[in-house]
Symmetry: C2
Subunit: 361 residues, 2 copies
């Protein structure tokens, strides 16, 4: 480790939530991991502290110019009481790619993973045990310099907070209905689409709101240039199974480099299921649907893992997939990845990083 | 006023800064204006309080999903000791347009202007008197719900803070050198480009950094679709004088509705200077330059008012305008608008809102 990590424990532990009603991202553990960045000094004062509010000047740049990045990861508890992280090094790589795009200084990924392991160890009792639950980890960086000029901040805070979570969608692995968005754009080549930064999510809210009014739970985003090529679904990457082949939009500069996306591609190759990363137009999808060749579609992301798509609405055209049921391949991928994450399936890909904790019941 | 406004004065007044070195946005006045939004209750608890840090949960949505909007305004002190705001109702209109795009609840513009007047009155001694100075006002709204789900927040804080400022560019009205950006994109139609929201500014930092390394002080942004049509310069709108006619990119959905932009257009019409809002390609500008018809170019914004452009670099082509000097029309516009703002020129357009304060010095 390049820095010292200090640990200050909370005086009191808060009551653990009911595991049947965890929801997503509303309940937080007793501690958090923090460090500060000062220009000329680098990242310093890495520390685990009691979970607590942060105090910033109203002119702190994060409130004005959106200079933020974040990651989403999960810690899983196995039946044997071991604690697993899923490909955390990929999250650190992506965090640094996001940092580069947002002019935020690079972090030492190995050090941050060590800090996260310490944090998980301290709050290990918070990892939920019920089926489908996990401990969601949210590392993020915010610009804190008290200055209203438009320029990269000279000060930052890195934080990681943790939340015991149930399934991301209340419906569980049940298929969701998706509205193809023709007006609003999430991101464009040359913009920040492949960075995990606040602005992309802020930009997505309006389309999402319009979709919700029509009773669709997510939006399928098309490219910002031609409004023709598929980019992402909600805040997930998207896959289609067409006539036996799985296709997903290629990483083109405006699509997030999903860790689950990459894992799904590896898994499909391992299974000898044909898989292609390329441009996919909405016309191609509609055409495949009309010809009865659109077999399955699903989103991928850390929060939901696999989110099967039961229906697309594109203008006036409604496409119902697989009778609105979860497809066979979607289910197989979901079971395999969550199985590896939970230690029920063999990790043939070296995806698991174990967190050394004292044995949990 | 639809709400009560409470006032809590600071126990101590801080020392006023040296007016010769105000810079921009680093020094703040003794008080701020705040109000809270709670779903089901609307905006409430409008208050003027001592300037102070704000305390938020680390899961507050603003830190993660960029749901923020802001405005930039200025209060000016006239020679007679009167205090003027410049078209504040336009800022309120734009704030609500930004709110709409970002799924943030609408504010009552008239009420906020009343609150700002009260705030200015309380901190009237902070309005600087030296040439070229003013009191910059930064209203902004941040999403504060402690929740990691991607959805519009159910809670917000509105704040307005104020900073006595000198000229935005150290160079004053001296012309700046501009790099035409061919790689990075600030915004695209369907995105958030016409909203004043953090993500647009975060997105602009990287291009700005690249420009600074090449010794250019701002970036000229091209459209995200064809990388051909001119959008904005830095965080300003942009105008060109070509063969006697002034042209500026039309509001197309990805360009900010600048208050200064609108004022410049009105002023030019009043002067019978031909002015057109239309698509302007970078090729057209280069062509006009080569033919000796590109007479002037300038950016417009609240912070800088008018920022003359002395040079463009587009790939290998360097275009030096007007011998690198401030153009005659740029200077005339600058003098007129700043003259109206400072009460030295007659306000023929109804642009001034007076802030009732006790007579200053």
């Amino acid at each position: 480790m390049t820095q010292e990590l200090t640990v200050q424990l909370a005086d009191q532990k808060r009551e653990k939530p009911d595991q049947a009603n965890l929801g997503f991202g509303r309940i937080f553990t007793d501690h958090m991991f923090m460090m500060d960045y000062t220009e000329g000094k680098g990242w310093h004062d890495a520390r685990i502290t009691p979970y607590q509010p942060i105090t910033l000047d109203p002119s702190a740049m994060v409130f004005h110019y959106g200079q933020t990045v974040f990651e989403g990861m999960k810690a899983y508890l196995t039946k044997e009481g071991r604690v697993f992280l899923f490909r955390p090094e990929k999250n650190m790589e992506r965090l640094n790619r996001s940092n580069d795009r947002l002019c935020i200084p690079q972090i030492d990924g190995d050090f941050v993973i060590e800090g996260l392991k310490q944090l998980i160890k301290v709050d290990q009792e918070w990892i939920p045990t019920a089926e489908g639950t996990s401990l969601y980890i949210r590392p993020f960086i915010i610009a804190t310099e008290p200055f209203l000029g438009v320029a990269p901040s000279k000060n930052y805070i890195f934080m990681a907070i943790m939340s015991p979570v149930g399934l991301y969608y209340k419906e569980g692995i049940a298929p969701v209905k998706i509205l193809v968005e023709n007006e609003f754009v999430r991101a464009v080549k040359g913009g920040t689409g492949e960075a995990k930064t606040g602005g992309n999510y802020a930009s997505s809210l309006k389309g999402q709101e319009v979709a919700a009014q029509k009773n669709y739970s997510q939006v399928l985003w098309l490219d910002g240039v031609e409004k023709k090529y598929i980019e992402e679904v909600g805040s997930m990457n998207v896959f289609f199974k067409i006539d036996g082949e799985v296709v997903t939009p290629a990483l083109n500069g405006s699509i997030l480099h999903g860790v689950t996306r990459d894992s799904v591609i590896q898994l499909l190759k391992h299974w000898n299921v044909p898989v292609a990363e390329r441009r996919v137009s909405i016309d191609e999808i509609a055409e495949a649907y009309r010809n009865g060749k659109l077999e399955e579609a699903f989103g991928t992301g850390t929060a939901a893992v696999i989110s099967p798509i039961g229906e697309f609405l594109w203008g006036e055209e409604k496409m119902v997939l697989n009778g609105g049921q979860t497809g066979e391949l979607s289910k197989r991928i979901y079971d395999t990845i969550t199985g590896i994450q939970k230690g029920a399936e063999k990790d043939e890909f070296g995806w698991i990083t174990e967190v050394p904790v004292s044995e949990l019941k």
